[in-house]
């Protein structure tokens, strides 16, 4: 069954990639083929926020519940993966910005948001490294993750709007407001779905890996 799902996902993504380059039309106002990057950049950025929220929710569940280590492992896994997706989002975004406007970085609201997310992930992982005892590590990193959740509205909505006023028109926002032609929307949605499923699959794998490591290090959990 798992193999069937994995194969389906593989096929799905293969079709999405093909469709991104051969089936979806180009967006007006974008240089050359560059609008194709949207089909990968947007989903990947979306997933990094999903990961952030997942980590936050799992952390709340850890603290509020019976301190079940599984929630802790889930949160940590979400953060690790979130970081990977955030890096991908940043890189694809920067490449696209370079093509379109000649510079890799503009402190566009979305760019600020992704940087801040990466800072948060890095800090969370650094905190975990600094605490040797399992339950303490889980409890304290969960508290930090929940604090992140509380502060996130300010990170994602307030902070980006405060940037220096000389930056160009929010670029990626413009893409959101784009007259999204139905084919483009279809590919975008399909790609987002695929990447989300990929995230949850990787998350499940990482959780299992964490459980195995815990079993090896500390006995049955």
């Amino acid at each position: 069954m798992k193999r069937l799902l994995a194969l389906s996902l593989w096929l799905w993504m293969a079709v999405v990639i093909w469709a991104a380059f051969h089936w979806a039309p180009l967006a007006a106002g974008f240089k050359g083929q560059s609008s194709r990057i949207l089909f990968f950049h947007v989903p990947v950025a979306w997933v990094s926020f999903v990961a952030f929220m997942t980590a936050g929710v799992e952390s709340v569940r850890y603290l509020a519940g019976r301190r079940d280590p599984r929630h802790d492992r889930s949160a940590a896994a979400a953060v690790e993966l979130g970081q990977v997706f955030a890096v991908l989002a940043t890189v694809t975004g920067a490449i696209w910005a370079r093509i379109m406007w000649g510079s890799y970085w503009n402190w566009d609201p979305r760019q600020s948001a992704i940087v801040v997310t990466m800072l948060y992930y890095a800090a969370y992982l650094a905190l975990r490294q600094a605490i040797a005892d399992g339950p303490s590590r889980a409890r304290l990193s969960a508290a930090y993750a929940v604090l992140g959740l509380v502060v996130s509205p300010f990170l994602y909505f307030v902070l980006p709007r405060l940037g220096f006023s000389l930056h160009p028109e929010p670029v990626i926002n413009a893409a959101g407001k784009l007259e999204v032609e139905s084919r483009m929307l279809a590919v975008l949605t399909a790609s987002s779905l695929g990447f989300t499923v990929l995230f949850y699959w990787l998350h499940a794998l990482r959780r299992r890996l964490g459980a195995v490591a815990a079993h090896r290090d500390e006995g049955v959990e």
């Binding site: 301190r67 040797a132 005892d133 339950p135 290090d217 500390e218 006995g219």
Partner: protein, 194 residues
């Protein structure tokens, strides 16, 4: 109860009980988990497995309540260097909502002059202050980890008197100490490690 620290299994399936007026004596070699056990009972550490139940009149105390009601003496308990013994006790009295007189009585009972700042106290004096801190709120649960360590004869005598008084008043105690230390009213023994 069990507790591990990474690969180190500090406490493995320790189990016991003690009732009002009684003393549970915890013995074992160094590193067998006596301190870990007492920390868990005090609410300073959460066990990985197992439960701690403190029951009073049929009701079980929540861990927060238990933590605030225990009298805990242990080698690593420390007080504020810059404050005198008296000032330290006044602080804890204020935190617990007790009149400052309680601290004074205990200082006298334990033969501790209250003026010296904690950093200038000898180890024997510090131990007396630990007892004073532990007994401020006339606790019903006494958790004593090597409680007579560093004491001279007078100090130990005073502490034992206070302990006997508390036990007679209905408190219970869990005491971890080397095997050659005599304990009053022992109702059970827990052997760890080995």
């Amino acid at each position: 109860m069990s507790r591990r620290f990474g690969p180190l299994r500090a406490l493995v399936d320790a189990s016991g009980e003690v009732a009002a007026g009684g003393v549970l004596s915890v013995r074992g070699p160094n590193g067998c988990g006596k301190s870990t056990l007492l920390r868990c009972l005090a609410g300073l550490l959460r066990p990985d497995r197992g439960t701690i139940a403190a029951r009073e009149g049929g009701r079980e105390l929540a861990s927060d309540e238990r933590r605030s009601r225990v009298g805990y003496v242990a080698p690593d308990v420390a007080f504020y260097d810059e404050l005198s013994g008296r000032e330290n006790l006044r602080l804890y009295s204020r935190l617990r909502g007790l009149p400052p007189g309680r601290g004074e009585i205990l200082l006298e009972r334990l033969g501790l002059a209250g003026e010296r700042p904690f950093h200038a106290m000898s180890s024997g004096m510090r131990q007396r202050l630990r007892w004073a801190f532990a007994l401020l709120h006339a606790p019903d649960i006494l958790l004593l980890d090597e409680p007579f360590q560093n004491f001279d004869a007078a100090g130990e005598r005073a502490a034992r008197e206070l302990l006997a008084e508390r036990l007679a008043a209905g408190a219970l105690a869990v005491v971890a100490s080397p095997s050659d230390v005599a304990l009053p009213r022992v109702t059970g023994e827990l052997l760890l490690g080995g």
